[in-house]
C-alpha cells in the first residue's frame, strides 16, 4: 500500500536579484510516499537547497503548492525535521549536546518524555555518553550525528536532509549513511535526501529524482531496484547498483537549463558545468 506523504505541485521560485529575476525552480512536481527514501541529485546551483527550504517553510515559493499528509502547508509544518548541511551553524554552541537535541521539544513535550526522547535519540546515533559535552567539543561527524539525533527526537513523519555528509571524510560518510538507514528502519521515517554524490543517492534510496540546470525542472525519476538491507561492499558491487549509478550520472552530465541534452547531442564542456561525483 503506497500512500502519498509529500505532494509538491508546480513549485516555482524566482529570486529577485540586482540583475533581474532569476528563475530557480520552474514548475517542479513530485510525490514522496510514506516510508520511502527518495534522493534528489542535480548540478550545483540548480536549486536543491531552495527546494528544501520551500518544503520546510523557511522560504515562501513564488507559486505552487506543497502538501504533507494531505494538508496544504503554509509556513513550517508539523511532523517535519530538517538536517542542514552546515552542522556547525545548526547546533547552538551554548547548549550542550543533550540540550541541543531537546531544543525542538521544549514547551511541547513534558519534561519526563523529553528526557526519554533525548536519551533514546542519542542512543540511536551512538552518542549516549556525550549528552553533557558541548557540540564544538566533538568531531564533525559526531556533530552531524547530534543534528540527526535532534531531528529524530522530533519524531518527524518526514525528514529533509540537505547534503548532510558533504563536509565529512569518506569513512565517516559511509558510517553516517548506514546510520541514517538504520535510524530510518527504527523510526519508520520517510526521508527526502539531497546530495551531490551519485553513489550516495543510489546506495541510500528507493528512488532518485534528478534535476536539470536552472530554470530547474525534474528530468527523471529513477527507481533503485537494489535489495535491502543495503551493504557498503555488497550493494556497491551489485550490477544493479553499477547500472543505476551510470544511468543517473548520465542524467546529470546531460543536464541543461530546463531540460536534458539529447543522447546524440554534443555536450558543451566549458562554463560552470557540474561534474557528477563518482567514487
Amino acid at each position: 500500500m503506497t500512500e502519498a506523504l509529500l505532494v509538491v505541485d508546480g513549485l516555482r521560485h524566482v529570486y529577485q536579484t540586482e540583475e533581474g529575476e532569476h528563475v530557480v525552480l520552474d514548475g517542479l512536481s513530485l510525490t514522496v510516499n510514506r516510508g520511502e527514501f527518495v534522493s534528489i541529485v542535480g548540478p550545483s546551483g540548480c536549486g536543491k537547497t531552495t527546494l528544501l527550504r520551500a518544503l520546510s517553510g523557511l522560504l515562501k515559493p513564488t507559486s505552487g503548492t506543497v502538501s504533507l499528509a494531505g494538508e496544504a502547508i503554509n509556513g513550517v509544518p508539523k511532523g517535519l525535521a530538517m538536517v542542514f548541511q552546515d552542522y556547525r551553524g545548526s547546533l547552538f554552541p551554548w547548549r550542550k549536546v543533550g540540550a541541543n537535541v531537546e531544543f525542538p521539544l521544549l514547551g511541547r513535550v513534558g519534561a519526563e518524555e523529553r528526557r526519554n526522547r533525548v536519551r533514546e535519540s542519542l542512543e540511536a546515533v551512538g552518542l549516549e555518553n556525550f549528552a553533557g559535552r558541548y557540540p564544538w567539543q566533538l568531531s564533525g561527524g559526531m556533530q552531524q550525528r547530534v543534528a540527526i539525533a535532534r531531528a529524530i527526537a522530533m519524531r518527524p513523519q518526514l525528514m529533509l536532509m540537505d547534503e548532510p555528509f558533504a563536509s565529512v571524510d569518506a569513512q565517516t560518510r559511509s558510517d553516517l549513511e548506514d546510520l541514517v538507514l538504520r535510524v530510518r528502519e527504527l523510526y519508520d521515517m520517510t526521508i527526502l535526501f539531497v546530495t551531490h554524490d551519485v553513489d550516495e543517492s543510489v546506495y541510500l534510496s528507493d528512488r532518485v529524482l534528478s534535476l536539470s540546470k536552472s530554470p530547474t525542472v525534474l528530468t527523471a525519476d529513477t527507481a533503485v531496484p537494489l535489495p535491502v538491507p543495503r551493504d557498503q561492499i555488497r550493494s556497491r558491487e551489485n550490477p544493479v547498483f553499477v547500472s543505476t549509478r551510470s544511468e543517473i550520472a548520465q542524467l546529470i552530465r546531460r543536464a541543461k537549463p530546463a531540460g536534458l541534452y539529447g543522447p546524440g547531442e554534443a555536450i558543451p564542456t566549458t562554463s560552470n558545468f557540474a561534474v557528477p561525483v563518482l567514487r
Binding site: V76, F84, F92, F103, G107, Y134, M154
Partner: protein
Amino acid sequence: MRRMKLTSPGVRAALGWAVAVVLILAWQLAAVTGESLFFPPPTEILAAGYQLWFSAGLENGVLTDAFHVDVVPSLERLVIGVLIAVAVGVSLGVLLGRVRVVAQFVEPLLHFMRALPGPVLLPMALVLLGTGNEMRIALITFGAIWPVLFNTYSAVRQVPESYLDTATVSRRTSASTLFRVILPSASAGIFAGIRTATGLGIILLVASELVASSDGIGFGLMQSQRSFQFLEMWAFIVALSILGYITTLLLSALERLFLRWHHLYKAVVA
C-alpha cells in the same frame, strides 16, 4: 624543574598585585618624607576611611551613619541607573537589530544622541528633572544606555542566519526564539556593552553628585575638598576606586557564570 611562564594567569595576577604593593609602598614613603598637606600617606587615608565609615563597632553592624549618607545613596543610584540602562538598551537594541525598518529611521538620531557626552546634559537635567534622585538616575541611565544599545544591536544583527533557521524549523514561537536563540547568541556582545556602561555609569554618578546634592560619594568629595579635609577627600577618592574595582569583580563573576561556554568555545574555535 619546570620554568614558570609569565603568561600563566596565576603568575600574572601575582605580578599585578606585587606591582600595586610596590607602588603603594613608594607612595607611603614619599608621603611620609614629603609631609605635604595635599598628599597624605595611604595608611592615614585608610585610617580616615575606616574612622569615617566602618567604626560603628561590631554590635552596631560596623557601618557608621556617615556610610549611609556618603556611600549608600551612590550605590543605589548606580545600580538603579545601570539596571534601567541595561533593560532599555537591550530591548531597544533587539528591536533595532530585528526590525530593519525601525533601524533605518532611528539609527542616525541615535548616533547623534550618543555623541553627546553625558555630563553636558547635567544643566538641562537640573532644569527638567530638578535636584532629586530621579535626575541623577536619569543622567546615569542616559550615559550608560548607548554602549548597551549599540552592542546589543550589532550582536543581534550578527546572530547567524542558520541559528534562526534552526529555530524556525523547530517551530519556535518568537518569544522562545528571542530568549533561547537570539539573546544567548548575542550575550557576549551584550555583556561587553554592560561593562562599558557600568564604567560610564560611575563617571556620571560622580558628576551628578557634584552639583546640587546633599549626599553620595561625589557630594562628600566636593564637601571635604571645600572644607580642606584632605584626608577625607582622599578617602572618598579611594572609596570610588574601590567601588569601580568591586563592580569589575562582580561583572567578571557574572560573566564567568553566564558566558563560561563562550570562553571555552572561543578557545576551541579560534
